[in-house]
């Protein structure tokens, strides 16, 4: 009886929100009346399972509403960065809220690289930001528009009647569609960006505004959803008041973007630890220009003589940020050494500027390898429980690039046991054995894989392992025994009498 009652009330709320949703973006009463009766049994079934599943998770219909939302979309690079500032309030009649949900469209969720959230505490000058954990929510609200939800877990629950400010940063990759899709050398690159004028949210939004920042003044067109205004490189949507949950108003911005669309399709980073004092890192890159494809011929003469208008969307150098005290750096490909690179070593970071053999135009590929050595004492530590751990930076050292497929292989010294990687986000992990110089049993290798990696993923991670320092003597003892074997053979030969004639 109780269950039935609940489902009926839930049904009512979904149908009412659906009606609201329809009102927001389409003609009212377009829904055939028979649909509701038709879907009732399936909805009932769905809701029964949904209530069973989401017992622990809060339904989005709890007391939370967004007082004000500010969305700043940064389109100045090839990667889309969105900064959301949400002022969230819990209704006085509701219970404590431990999480706030953020909604993404299915396309956004597919291209989503990272979501980070912080909560602002305190007033004005004493404002502090506490990082919050974000996780993908399996809460089923796909009934309306297939939106994927992520829940921001509030450190301390939001009490009824309280309000707080949450700042969210999320990064979207491959979300700018070049249009025209093919350009010639002298043309500039124009891209489409699609989003919504209003915030897609499972909550009621009282007041909101969206700012879109473009890299240059050249904006070919943008969808108008009044009030919309444009000033220089910024397009402002809003202020919109009183938006119903799950409202979505598609917008399209067509603008010029000549920033390098550097995409690393595959990056394999191999980290070899030697307890004799070195951490050797080898990185294999498969780079691509991910922008509008190049059309027609490529004139090197025109490219060199008129660099301002020719090949505006191409790029010819990349900057890699490496740790300080880096040594023995090399930059090469299958042919051999590439001499066009510059290194600046500083006390906090080193910068390696590399130029591929040719400038990269849309759709062009290039593969190369970077290798460098690092002093062991900067990266290897002993934890309190006696285990050793290596502290490295995740992600790709190249700035402003997207890595589609990242593999990090940490090759531990021979004789290491129980490797345990500690990475702050979800990665695919497995172990393998690799062989290197003077190896007998092979080296334990921790392999970490992650797709869709951006600069925000460059955070430290650790690999813990157990190692007995006595194993360090294995390699010299091998060399010693090899030489000793030679001497023993000499002694044996000289002591043997191999002459055919009678020994005197």
């Amino acid at each position: 009886m109780d269950v039935k009652k609940q489902t009926v009330s839930d049904l009512d709320s979904t149908s009412s929100s659906r009606r609201r949703g329809v009102r927001a973006d389409g003609p009212p009463d377009a829904m055939p009346p028979s649909l509701q009766t038709l879907t009732t049994p399936t909805l009932l079934l769905l809701l029964l399972t949904a209530t069973a599943v989401s017992c622990s998770a809060l339904p989005p219909e709890d007391g939370i509403r967004i007082l004000s939302a500010e969305k700043r979309i940064d389109l100045t690079g090839s990667i889309v960065k969105v900064y959301l500032t949400l002022k969230v309030e819990n209704a006085p009649a509701a219970s404590d809220a431990s999480q706030v949900l953020i909604a993404f469209t299915p396309t956004e969720a597919q291209h989503l690289a990272i979501v980070k959230a912080t909560r602002a505490e305190g007033k004005r000058k004493k404002k502090t930001y506490a990082p919050l954990s974000v996780e993908a929510s399996d809460l089923a609200t796909t009934a309306l528009n297939g939106a994927r939800l992520y829940s921001v877990l509030l450190g301390t629950p939001l009490k009824p009647g309280e309000a707080t400010t949450i700042e969210v940063l999320y990064v979207l990759t491959h979300s700018l569609e070049p249009f025209p899709a093919e350009i010639s050398q002298s043309e500039s690159q124009l891209v489409y960006f699609r989003d919504s004028a209003v915030l897609l949210s499972p909550y009621h939004v009282l007041e909101q505004v969206t700012y879109i920042k473009t890299p240059s003044n050249r904006i070919e067109s943008f969808t108008r959803v009044d009030p919309t205004s444009r000033a220089g490189t910024e397009v402002k949507y809003g202020t919109y008041k009183n938006q119903a949950p799950n409202s979505y108003l598609p917008i399209l911005v067509h603008y010029e973007n000549n920033r390098p669309f550097a995409v690393v399709e595959e990056l394999v980073r191999k980290v070899e630890i030697s307890h004799w004092g070195n951490v050797q890192i080898t990185e294999h890159y498969k780079l691509k220009h991910g922008g509008a494809r190049h059309k027609g011929v490529f004139s090197r003469l025109e490219y060199q003589s008129r660099p301002s208008i020719s090949g505006a969307s191409s790029f010819k150098n990349l900057l890699a940020r490496l740790p300080p005290r880096v040594h023995s750096i090399y930059y090469r490909d299958e042919i051999g050494n590439i001499s066009t690179s510059h290194l600046r070593i500083g006390s906090l970071k080193s910068e390696l500027e590399i130029e591929p053999r040719y400038p990269l135009f849309g759709g062009w590929h290039c593969t190369f390898t970077i290798g460098y050595g690092l002093p062991l004492e900067d990266f290897l530590f002993e934890s309190e429980d006696g285990r050793r751990y290596i502290n490295l930076t995740f992600g790709c050292p190249l700035l402003d690039t997207v890595v589609d497929d990242l593999t990090i292989k940490v090759v531990l010294p021979e004789g290491s046991k129980n490797p345990q990687p500690v990475v702050p986000f979800v990665t695919e992990k497995h172990l393998e054995t690799s062989y290197s110089y003077l190896d007998v049993v092979g080296r334990t290798t921790v392999v970490l894989k992650k797709k869709n990696v951006v600069g925000e993923h460059n955070v430290p991670f650790q690999v813990y392992y157990e190692f007995n320092p006595i194993f360090m003597l294995a390699e010299p003892l091998m060399l010693v025994s090899a030489v000793l074997l030679f001497f023993v053979a000499c002694i044996a030969y000289l002591h043997m009498d191999l002459s055919i004639g009678k020994s005197s």
Partner: protein, 76 residues
């Protein structure tokens, strides 16, 4: 948490000089070993002396070659 940094047992800057020193000592011992083998007759040879020289030479050459590898950038 004050984690202790782990460095190599021998300072990295010493590797080239250590390599040169140990390899030259090892080669000298090897030379003395072969000189002894060539100059003494089969009956007057002492196996203990041969083994001692061979063992010392191999220790020096073994560690010497390790430091040659490390100094040249092949970190084993």
């Amino acid at each position: 948490m004050a984690a202790k940094a782990i460095s190599s047992p021998v300072p990295v800057e010493w590797y080239p000089s250590l390599a040169a020193l140990m390899v030259s000592v090892g080669l000298m011992l090897t030379a003395s070993f072969f000189i002894y083998e060539a100059t003494s007759s089969r009956r007057s040879r002492s196996l203990a002396k041969e083994i001692t020289t061979a063992a010392m030479a191999s220790v020096f050459l073994g560690f010497g070659s390790l430091f040659v590898l490390l100094a040249s950038g092949v970190y084993v």
